[in-house]
Amino acid sequence: MEQIITCGADRYNPELLPKLEAHVEEQVQSQTYNLEANLCLLRLYQFYPERGNARVLSQVLLKGLMQLPNPDCDLYLHLVPERVQQEEPFSTILNLASMLNGARFREFWQAYGPAAEMLDSVPGFKEGVRSYIMHVVGSTYQNVPSNVIEEVMGLASAEVPAFIASQPGLTVNGDLLQLPANEDNHPVAKNSVESISFHQIVPCLALGLS
């Protein structure tokens, strides 16, 4: 697939549409991902709006959301006309995307319920989103209160111990959960030191000679 997309003018060939749509289905089922191919498909939808397929488009957007913190879903949305974005299910997806982007995870899980059927139709969606949330929490906290985890992960309190057990590197520390250390939750001050290069002072030195 990769080869079809990257070789030359074929990138813009509308004949590819059915293949690209099938490839989206393949990505969904096999839990793989191909940004270039999906962008190519959305470009063709943009050129031939009458050939747009709502189901495929929603799958592409959800796959994009699973790539957070990479802004793939945003890249896709720039190619989807506003009037399409206002229709369902896209306005729901847009809303969910905005919550995830803004780290409003409690709201996200509240909105998840009513849309669960669509969201769960993409295998691995919930896990993908949870791993993104874990990434955000893990870069902010060294030790996080377990009720915060409960809230941002959309878990019932009974589910928390099982969740903790499923996360490598999480250790219970009283009321707190200790997160694995990384350069984001252990930031060091970047104090810039000015260094002056010889090149910079050459004009001043030259003054002495003249």
Partner: protein
Amino acid sequence: MTMDAERPGMPPWAAERDARMKGTVQPSFSDHDMVVPDMVQTFVAYFYRHIREKNVFEILSMYETSFHKLTERYFKASPWPPVQAIAPLVDNDHVFCLLYKEMYYRHLYAKNTPSLEQRCESWDNYCALFGVILHGNVNMQLPNLWLWDMVDEFIYQFQSFCQYRGKLSTKTAEELELLKRCDQVWNVLGVLNYLQALHDKSNIDATLEKERSGEEIFSQNEGYDYNQSNVLRLLGYFGMTGLLRVHCLIGDYHGALKAIDSIDLDKPGLFTKVTPCYISSMYYVGFSYLMTHRYLDAIRIFNHILQYINRAKQYHIRSPSYEQILKKNEQLFALLAICLSLCPQPKLLDDTVHTALREKYSDKISKMSNGEESVFDELFSYACPKFITPCPPSFDDPSYNYNQEAYRLQLKCFLAEVRQLRHLPTVRSFLKLYTTISVAKLATFLEMEPVALRTILLCLKQKTRQLQWNGGPSALDGDWTSAGDIDFYINGEMIHVIDNKIQRQYGDYFCNHILKSERIMADLQKLPELL
């Protein structure tokens, strides 16, 4: 719309369409009512001779200077003579006539509003010209500037056609009927395919690769090679920057940056030697970074090109593109102001750029930093490219204006991101005052629930992480880095703040002032002699 894959070459539908249109549209001139002034006749004859003799410097001077002088003198408001009137002067040379028409239509677009028929003719002319270059054996040597202008104008006319097509409400039924038949003219796939075909056929990727490994010299000779024509190679090269622009215009920012994979943006190359190409490419690269939330990279690019314009603009005062350069300069400053408001990193700026930016926009930057959305809207709308809707409008509802659609979508996406960042400056400014503070205490200061504050802190952390280009073959490469002037982490209930002290760099400042004071002293010493 038919699904025929567009392939470069003389389009088969063109002849049929022309025949259909002939009956309804009167030709705007005939051979007889046009007397070609002597000076213009001489110009054309010499121009033809120099092109045949591959005299690049003469061609460039005639193209850059003489053509504009004659335009000023004879064709300020009217088009240049039709190609039929000059063909006899140049042995009816097919390729020269195509080149002449390229300039003819460019001039026409610049001075008048072209009719639908003229738009179609210009499209056919580009198809024929690119067809000859792609499939014929062209042995010309043309100035790089002209080849760049060709690609630039090709996209400009495409953009202009989309705008023209999008405004149905002002058109008569007859015009609409004609427009419906022109669905292949300036078709987005056609445009993309030509640019891509020029790029592929020119083999420019391989040339640039060889240049990198030192096997071949390309940019050092500005792409000229006396053993072979520069035309296809250079069109292939500029085709990449053309693709960058078209992808940007349709909102595909990833595709835009990917299109210039073969060009090393951090090194001088051919694109840095053709001034309008340099400015335009950096504008679109920076804009793509801005739209993909890579503000550090956008700032780096904008700072770089603004420094360049500041140095180079004096050499272009007499050039016809001077106005364009100034306009882009202003737009670049506006985009830079946006980036700095979203990602306050003034230390990345060069002193001269920073001073100029403060003069122009310090007011607006402080408003934007306070989250005033209308200012973001204003600057974005002023500085963004003219986005296009690449598909034809629906002819069933002619009252709708399709031109605003593409622009509104991009604006909406941009403002959505601005809104995500809205609360962050306030929280950041509070954090700056502390080394440690509890979540509950900060929440009281900000008059919000601790739960809401935790959300904002997660958002702040997430949004200060950005991809930053760090030397890699593609402009899309990058590493995640922290872009804030402060950083922080939370340990349970306690927020710990790390201040990334931004130290002003004094070296350049003092050097400049030493030189300045020395100059003043020298001038003062001269004073007694003058008196």
